[in-house]
Amino acid sequence: MSTAAPAPKANMGQPVPRYDGVAKVTGHAQYAADVPLANPAYAYLVTSSIAKGRIDGFDLTEAKTMRGVIDIFTHENAEKLKEIKFFSNGGYASTTIVPLNSPEIAHEGEIVAVVVAETFEAARDAAHRVKVKYTAETPTTTFDSPGTTSARAKGQNAMFKEDPKVGDFANAFDQAEVKFTATYETPTQHHNPMELFATSCVWNGDQLTIYEPSQFVYGLKNGVAQQLGIDADKVRVINAYVGGAFGSKGSTTPRTAIIASLARRLNRPVKLVASRDQGFTIATYRAETRHDIQIGASRDGRLVALRHEGEEISSRADAYCVGGTKTTTRLYACPNVDSLVSIVRADRNTPGFMRSPPEVPYVFALESAMDELAVELKMDPIELRRVNDTTKEPISGKPYTSRSLMACFDEGAKTFGWDKRAATPKSLADGDWLIGYGCATACYPTQMGAAAARVRLQRDGRARVEIAGHDLGTGAYTVIAQAAAERLGIPYEKVSVSLGDTRLPPAPVAGGSNSTASTCSAVITVCDQIRHRLFQALMPNETLADKAKETVGVGQTPASKAEQSGQPLDREKAFDALGVSAIEEYGEWKPEGAPKDSLQALHSGLVRMVGGPDLGGKIAYAFGAEFVELRVNRFTHEIRVPRLVGAFAAGRIMNPRTARSQLMGGLIWGMSSALFEATELDERYARYVNDNLADYLVPVNADTPSVDVILLSETDEHIDPAGVKGLGELGNVGTAAAVCNAIYNATGQRIRKLPVRLEKIEV
């Protein structure tokens, strides 16, 4: 069997090929900008070249005379859109900065005008002819720039609940046998999914259809409706395929309502495909962070005191915050823990979720520090993790639902050949290359949200699943089809799946790695409703369900054991007993502990996510161990990563093929986040300089010679009906630390500020 399709271990589904494979390899998969429109007008954005100040006026004379230009919209003539609440404060918006509503400029690259023309070529050229007169003020760019303001995250951002602490850190640190203190920094990074930020809007009477890549079609629908001041039922969002997202397409960005408004005004479909550089400022990004870590330990490596202080950049308008201390304070056993997260405001666009938003920067800091501590203690870094492994988190003593961290380290170490590592730096070399080994812990909270689904099963064994989930490349189509096939006892090939359309029952934002757990749990629930009806037809006396629960649209907990068991069903016989040819059930699933209004909120495009540090009195995380072989050229100091190994345990693996691919991609992302990715800021202007794919480096094929993913068998009955923990964001957590730990092993040099670049290497 090829490595692309690992043989399933216990509690793993089959590695079936992707449901959407043929569509994607033939070019027929229709992404948002691929949808044909009748007589579209093309929009092109003009964005601000200043980061702070105001627009004094426009000279549109030249632009307007260009052949094919239909109109140009600015704050002077565009519809004033209604403001909507910030996503992290329970709303929809990626930012509360609303372009075209006023002449004020809040950040570089803010939309200041939209040219609409008959062709893309004319719109682009006219956009270049738009002259904007600004009064510019000196902007504040980042940490330590004059003019920043800093304040505790707690109280500013509804998603940031607490600064976890327990015991007496100060005293314990003071008394510790070994003390370690260091500062770590991570840079600005942009998601750069391959698909550009496209939006097409089509009005049919008072009905608006939006084609836009989205991780949350229900959120987008409701957010845009509010901005336009129309009923959400009038808005439909369609995107069957999403060309990568990584967090950038989760919340409602300002462009969508703008394009919808222009399309309404022009009474014509309007299509926007924002340019790559504009994508750096019209959506979100991973903000730069800074971390102070203090660790006190005993000589045998046990942590006795841990303090993690994090600082994050956000915009003036919004208190975006990732607050990864919720993870780092709970990762290892430690009786005395303290933490603090602060938000530093600058004249920037509002940051947002990017693949493992809290864990990537915060775990980088902690896992680098753990490696430094291991060096200090002369311990194997894996053994240091083992000594501090725990079955319950230290802050409030909640037990982990399951935790296979050390099993991951042991499996990974074996495959990687960790025993060949030399503890002393600069010990291994191969010709021009110094070789270093590094490892780190990966972890990601298990999260889920309420979801609804509609499933139709036919007597002939074909089924159709409808749920407004999203396949971002994650394999959602595939695992949803597998979940339905398994529950209904029909072949995978007989299941059709529809996703990415607000006409379908709602699913939560495809973010926070909740998608598989949430959507599959909902689909399983609905399939069980169908099983219930079929079993009832065959065994009417076994249990009598509440009549109401047989009705479409009601009930999420089937009454009998049979439908939830693995008991096979004589489908045709049951259908014949019922005298029907098809059964369709709509159902909703709500995770335990989720707020009562979770489903109502979901229909309004709002997510009530549960899980992670608190899932029904337990703590739920997926774990992994990551290993990096890294080479540093002793002459050029070029850094290459010939080998990555990750071992992961994430509850039930729905499909080892898609899981492996996602984790493989995650490992490469993590490596990239350490070595390549940094959005360079020109601090004079608060502007992103390398806003393109030639200068914002992401890995190419030649950068990833060997990536090994080991999937551990793990069963967790405390999480969700699907038994799934989610792994889309697990793979790129810890990798950056493993890279830096390998750099240390290769060179004896500790790099605490990312990205590692060859000019930082001193051999």
């Binding site: 390899v25 033939t26 990568g244 990584f246 994650t474």
Partner: protein, 206 residues
């Protein structure tokens, strides 16, 4: 020494850009033949904003178009001809998502003007399969799970087919280097290499 005067005709010009009526015949001929064809006379200044007629040959079929001279092959394919398989990922030759074959060579359609591609054979992802039968490279991409979001995939597959035909699929290192012009943000790279290794023998067999 090279021959610096191999083409010859009176004016050497083919003012096809604005000779709307004549352009069809003058331009459909392959480039090499164009020099021998009747030359149009350079005309007085024309409005460069006016659209021009041209014919693109895509996946074996001629398609007549009247479009802005600034249109790239990529935008002509996507916005005018309905071939939306080729993707726009950067529009500046930095990602490879728009890769198509022109006369069998892999090139970036985002940096190729439609006017320059006249008279040449353009092959897109839509032109690889034989009816319902997938091209071996397409099948290999499915088998090896060589994509996730799928957005870069048409460019990857077209590029991969050319990579094999160029003779650059003889080793893993070669494949990785010669496929480095196609960025995959999901980072399916190791699986892409596996897919190319799977498909190469069948492609080379013909």
């Amino acid at each position: 020494m090279s021959d610096k005067s191999s083409s010859s005709n009176a004016s050497g010009f083919n003012r096809r850009a604005f000779m709307a009526a004549a352009a069809g015949t003058a331009v459909a001929a392959p480039l090499t033949a164009r020099a021998a064809g009747p030359a149009a006379t350079p005309s007085a200044a024309q409005d460069p904003q006016l659209p021009v007629d041209l014919t693109l040959r895509v996946n074996g079929q001629n398609r007549q178009l009247n479009l802005d001279a600034r249109t790239t092959v990529l935008d002509a394919l996507r916005e005018r001809l309905g071939f939306t398989g080729s993707k726009k990922g950067c529009d500046h030759g930095q990602c490879g998502a728009c890769t198509v074959l022109i006369d069998g060579r892999r090139v970036l359609s985002c940096l190729t003007l439609a006017l320059v591609a006249q008279g040449h054979e353009i092959t897109t992802i839509e032109g690889l399969a034989d009816g319902d039968k997938l091209h071996p490279m397409q099948q290999a991409f499915i088998d090896q799970d060589a994509f996730q979001c799928g957005y870069c995939t048409p460019g990857q597959i077209v590029s991969a087919v050319a990579c094999v035909k160029e003779g650059h699929a003889n080793s893993d290192d070669d494949i990785r280097e010669y496929m480095s012009g196609n960025i995959c943000r999901c980072a399916a790279y190791p699986n892409i290499v596996a897919a190319i290794k799977q498909a190469a023998p069948e492609i080379l067999k013909g």
